[in-house]
């Protein structure tokens, strides 16, 4: 580790803890990759009624929310990144 790294890099212990927290959220959620794929396809189907979305670029995952809710509790949250190709109104 160089001197500069000392200031910007997290310790490996912290990295381990952060990675664990993330992996446990998806382990505990019992959302298998198949179910995630089905959720993804359903999202595409619903949204496609209104906008044209880039289904290739769509990414969903279950992670820990940052606790911005009213009770400020962090819990599992579904994050979706859905690129829109064309937002123009149809017809």
């Amino acid at each position: 580790m160089s001197f500069g790294d000392f200031f910007k890099r997290k310790s490996s212990g912290e990295t381990a803890k952060d990675r664990l927290k993330l992996v446990l959220v998806s382990d505990r959620s019992a959302c298998s990759p198949e179910i995630m794929e089905r959720i993804k396809n359903d999202i595409i189907e619903v949204l496609s009624k209104y906008v044209e979305i880039d289904s290739e670029g769509l990414d969903i995952k279950i992670t820990q929310s940052e606790g911005e809710g009213p009770e400020d509790k962090s819990g599992p949250a579904l994050f979706a990144n859905i690129p829109i190709r064309n937002i123009r109104q149809r017809n």
Partner: protein
């Protein structure tokens, strides 16, 4: 009527058998009647860790198949009054015993002993299911590594699904020097991630290798690990014991030159 405690981890190689041997020895030293049950059929090891490998005649499979009486299969440890081992079979596999049969053995044992301690194999398959079948409470062993903690979390989920109320955690092989420089998760970090209560922290101690080489568990001796184990035994018995300062004592010259 005694209690059945399962010692399990999910991941292999984190120290389940060593922990079982030391908790058994420690509880016996504290005057309790204890039987250790090796449920790792086909890969038995608790006998060698305890130094009792030359005294096995019958094993747990013989008991469930009716080849011998339960009492005949128990090996009395002559060094510690009150400590017995029920060994696993080495030439059979996990399917030789069902969870119901193992629960029945545990039930019978807890009429005789204060503590029946089931040493679980790694994994979540049949051997694990056998080990937890008759257990009243559980002790999860983990090391402060992502793989071991992840597996421990899975095991905690499975024990909860089995309606086990009392599940506690042993953080094994902690290296305080690495924790201090931020290169290892602390016991507190592991507890925070897993969300269960601690029952002990055992330092990474060379004396454990020596003890296993000799087949003599070190619970209760003057080593740091030996002290950590005996404290776990007190906590199992429901006593409040403060946690040890696991930092290695630095000698005068090491202090002078800042070495560990």
């Amino acid at each position: 009527m005694g209690e059945v405690i399962v010692i399990t981890s999910g991941k292999g190689g984190v120290g389940k058998t060593t922990t079982t041997a030391n908790i058994g020895t420690g509880l016996a030293k504290l005057g309790k009647k204890v039987v250790l049950v090796d449920t790792d059929i086909g890969l038995r090891n608790l006998d060698v860790v305890l130094g009792l490998e030359n005294r096995i005649v019958y094993n747990v499979v013989d008991v469930v198949e009716g080849n011998c009486k339960l009492k005949q299969a128990l090996i009395k440890d002559k060094r510690y009054e009150g400590l017995c081992l029920l060994p696993a079979a080495q030439t059979r596999d996990k399917s030789a015993v069902t969870p119901e049969q193992m629960a029945e053995v545990a039930k019978e044992l807890k009429e005789e002993f204060d503590y029946v301690i089931m040493d679980s194999p790694a994994g979540i398959e049949q051997g694990f299911k056998n080990a937890i079948a008759g257990a009243d409470r559980g002790i999860i062993v983990t090391t402060p590594e992502v793989s071991a903690v992840r597996d421990a979390d899975r095991i905690i989920g499975l024990l909860e699904a089995n309606e086990m109320q009392d599940v506690r955690l042993v953080v094994n092989r902690l290296r305080t020097d690495m924790v201090e420089r931020g290169d290892m998760m602390s016991a507190e970090d592991v507890v925070e991630v897993l969300g269960i209560k601690l029952i002990g922290v055992v330092p990474d101690d060379e004396q454990i290798v020596v003890a296993t080489n000799n087949g003599e568990p070190l619970a209760g001796d003057e080593s740091l690990a030996g002290q950590a184990y005996i404290n776990i035994c007190h906590r199992i018995m429901g006593e409040e014991v403060p946690y040890l300062d696991l930092r290695k004592k630095k000698g005068f010259f090491a202090k002078l030159f800042g070495k560990n």
